[in-house]
């Protein structure tokens, strides 16, 4: 008996997630209008604690931290999106090829995926980012490099599990080529989980990216990237406002993605949700 009566869709989280994300996106778009001052204007004064003029205080070269956090959204959000899309594309293509062709192609691709997965992610990303040179572009590349296997695994799994599904066989019996059957029948089954995974991964990607920036392997000052801003704060513990506000910015943005992804996963039917968890 297939009944799924008690899985009320917990929408509130999704709503919160979407709301926070929307706010951040609006902030990013309208940063020049919202920010109280130029994020790179300096006054060489002291590091000022939050005050009525600089709500989030100022940094070591006298820039307004609030304005920098606001402008930071223009760096972090688009990059996280880009990173997720790239990882999703690469992973999906590789997973699809592996799942579709099977045999030695599958074996080879999956071994390769396994190797990347067995590689400690942050260490690989760190090594790649350092080797290519500390630049945001390279950090994004490094994160994509460690992020794609998750998608490849998911997509391959989904294809394999539905490749022999009765409804695919039915399509084949009705004269569909393997490719068409897989494309028409599996695309809708794959896109849902992949997008949910993307929502969940966006948060992880953002964390990894800002982590690299924190270590000085990603964005570099004067860029107002949040991770880099936290690292500036890390040099001045007493000036807590330097690290706290950009850190909260990262936290809320990642949280929004995770809320969204988590709620979406619940909406998916249990079987694909399980595939996602694995």
């Amino acid at each position: 008996m297939r009944k799924n009566p008690d899985s009320p869709i917990r929408q509130p989280l999704a709503v919160i997630g979407v709301t926070i994300l929307t706010i951040w996106i609006l902030i990013a778009i309208f940063a020049p209008l919202i920010a109280p001052s130029n994020p790179i204007a300096q006054n060489y004064g002291q590091l000022l604690p939050p005050n009525s003029h600089n709500w989030f205080g100022t940094d070591s070269v006298g820039r307004d931290v609030l304005s920098r956090v606001i402008y930071g959204a223009r760096i972090t959000l688009p990059l996280s999106m880009m990173l997720v899309i790239l990882a999703m594309l690469v992973g999906t293509v590789i997973g699809a090829i592996a799942g579709y062709f099977g045999g030695w192609i599958d074996a080879a691709l999956m071994r390769f995926t396994d190797v990347v997965l067995a590689f400690p992610g942050i260490i690989l990303a760190m090594a790649v980012a350092a080797a290519l040179g500390a630049e945001l572009r390279n950090a994004v590349f490094a994160v994509v490099l460690v992020a794609w296997p998750t998608y490849a695994r998911l997509v391959r799994g989904l294809i394999l599990s539905s490749k022999n599904a009765d409804y695919v066989t039915s399509s084949r019996l009705l004269g569909a080529s393997t490719t068409r059957a897989l494309f028409v029948d599996l695309r809708p089954n794959i896109s849902g989980p992949v997008f949910v995974l993307a929502a969940l991964e966006a948060g992880n990607g953002m964390l990894l990216l800002s982590g690299l920036s924190f270590l000085g392997l990603g964005a570099r000052p004067p860029s107002a990237e949040w991770g880099a801003m936290v690292s500036a704060g890390a040099n001045n513990f007493d000036k807590w406002w330097l690290a706290v506000f950009p850190g909260l910015a990262i936290l809320t943005a990642v949280l929004a993605f995770n809320f969204l992804g988590d709620a979406l996963r619940d909406i998916l039917d249990p079987r694909t949700a399980k595939a996602l968890r694995e």
Binding site: Y44, S60, G133, G216, P221, P222
Partner: protein, 499 residues
């Protein structure tokens, strides 16, 4: 493992480690200098924050010939190594030979010098060319005197070929083979170095029986010293110190000179090699804002030679901001506002000054006269590579002296010299300056030398790729219990002087 430290006072120092070894003939960073200074004695040394007047240490006296090519040192007879062996001229010759032949980072200090020992307590240093810097050089911890028998017994080698045959580094990282007031009791490149008082020290016992030097980030240093967990914090910047409470702040000016260069090689950039452009940059900068940015203790670098050394320029000689002049000079160039790359050590900081922040400040100042910089923060390895290859259009760097003498600058910042080449400044570029450099090298009269150094710097300020910016502040933060603390550009702080 060490004996218990319970018998005496313990001093805890927070430092951002940069030593790579404690083998005195290999060590080249100031963090290691501080430790080696406490473990190894040198013929001469410096007192307090003065790094220009050598005073007696193992050598009670010395003299030189008229053209500064032969120096004779007379050693004290009471000096003993920590194992009790007497220190003799043979140990000095061995150590210096080792320094020269290992061909490690500091071996260039021995270039052109030869040490000999006519008797047990006399050492003669002969220079191929006149070298007035020998007394200050031998005060450097690289010239630390090691127990030659002990080191030789543990793989040490001091003759030609030592670069492959010397195997004593690891030994020297675990055991002290020196005659200084402290001995090494724990070694690490990353966590903690412990020194304990040398019970057989030939001089007066130091005030602390144990010194713990821990690798701690700047930010944490500020917390530790306030909580009294550490007695001294070595790496705080002026901005980090202004909100500290309950601590002593010893501020001085360091001998580190920060400078900007604008590549003089036309094949690298037709813009930056234009003297008018270089001049525009020079006058566009607001030097008082730069020192304000660097914080208390920092001063404008009037010339490339830091204020502590012979022949340094007076503040009055320093370049002053002149926007009109800068704009006029810029107008004479073909520059159209295209972005000019400025390379620096991304994420790097030195003496509390962050490269990133510094570059940000400079770029916004230059932007005011219409010079548009493209900041190129680069990991230190890559940045050093392109810097040393002379391929960067502009660069922001600092120079700390290899030995505390003005000759270190004239020998590096001239046309065709090491740093000159990095800035694309060919040997043929400025014949008068080259002539001046050659003259000062053999001048033995200190007064005349000083005048020549000043002229050298004025020439650089008038026409060279180099733009001296600031001397960074030297700050030591300590708990109230620490007495006798002084900043020193060679070894940050002389541990043996602390009370």
């Amino acid at each position: 493992t060490s004996s218990s430290a319970a018998s005496g006072r313990v001093l805890v120092i927070d430092s951002e480690f940069n030593h790579k070894t404690l083998d005195p003939q290999r060590e080249f960073e100031d963090g290691g200098n501080m430790m080696d200074r406490a473990i190894y004695d040198t013929l001469l040394t410096f007192k307090g924050n003065d790094a220009s007047k050598p005073v007696p240490s193992i050598a009670l006296s010395y003299n030189s010939n008229a053209d500064s090519t032969v120096y004779t040192f007379h050693l004290r007879k009471a000096a003993r190594f920590s194992d009790g062996t007497p220190l003799t001229s043979a140990d000095v010759v061995y150590s210096y030979g080792r320094l020269k032949n290992i061909q490690g980072n500091p071996s260039s200090l021995m270039a052109g010098l030869t040490a000999t020992a006519p008797d047990k307590y006399t050492v003669i240093i002969t220079a191929d060319q006149p070298d007035t810097a020998v007394p200050v050089k031998v005060a450097g911890p690289e010239f630390g005197i090691v127990n030659s028998k002990m080191v030789a017994a543990h793989g040490g080698y001091a003759l030609v070929g030592a670069d492959t045959k010397d195997k004593a580094e690891n030994f020297l990282n675990t055991t002290s083979a020196g005659s200084g007031p402290y001995m090494l009791s724990k070694f690490s490149l990353t966590t903690e170095v412990d020194l304990i008082a040398n019970p057989k020290y030939w001089g007066k016992q130091p005030a602390y029986s144990k010194i713990v030097i821990r690798n701690v980030t700047q930010a944490v240093q500020a917390l530790d010293v306030q909580k009294g967990v550490a007695n001294i914090a070595l790496d705080l910047s002026p901005k980090q110190t202004d909100s500290l409470s309950g601590v002593n702040v010893t501020a001085g000016v360091s001998t580190t000179v920060w400078f900007l260069y604008s590549n003089a090689n036309p094949t690298i950039s037709s813009v930056t090699s234009d003297p008018n452009f270089q001049s525009a940059v020079r006058y566009a900068l607001n030097y008082s804002d730069l020192t304000a940015f660097a914080g208390k203790g920092s001063i404008q670098a009037a010339g490339i030679i830091p204020s502590a050394f012979q022949g340094s320029l007076k503040p009055a000689d320093a370049t002053k901001q002149n926007i009109a002049l800068a704009k006029a000079d810029l107008a004479k160039t073909a520059y159209k506002g295209e972005p000019i790359g400025l390379r620096y050590w991304g994420g790097g900081a030195w003496e509390g000054i962050s490269f990133d922040d510094f570059a940000t400040v400079i770029s916004s100042q230059l932007a005011a006269v219409g010079i548009n910089l493209k900041l190129e923060p680069t990991p230190v390895g890559d940045a050093l590579t392109t810097y040393r290859n002379g391929t960067d259009t502009m660069g922001l760097w600092f120079w700390g002296p290899d030995w505390p003498d003005s000759s270190n600058y004239s020998q590096n910042f001239g046309p065709g010299k090491k740093v000159g080449l990095r800035a694309g400044w060919a040997a043929s570029a400025a014949p008068e300056i080259t002539k001046l450099i050659n003259a000062v090298a053999i001048e033995s009269d200190p007064k005349k030398r000083a005048a020549q150094y000043r002229q050298f710097q004025l020439d650089l300020n008038a026409n060279s790729p180099f733009i001296p910016l600031i001397q960074s502040p030297a700050i030591l933060v300590s708990t109230k219990s620490v007495i006798g603390i002084a900043t020193n550009p060679i070894w940050k702080v002389n541990l043996t002087e602390l009370k």
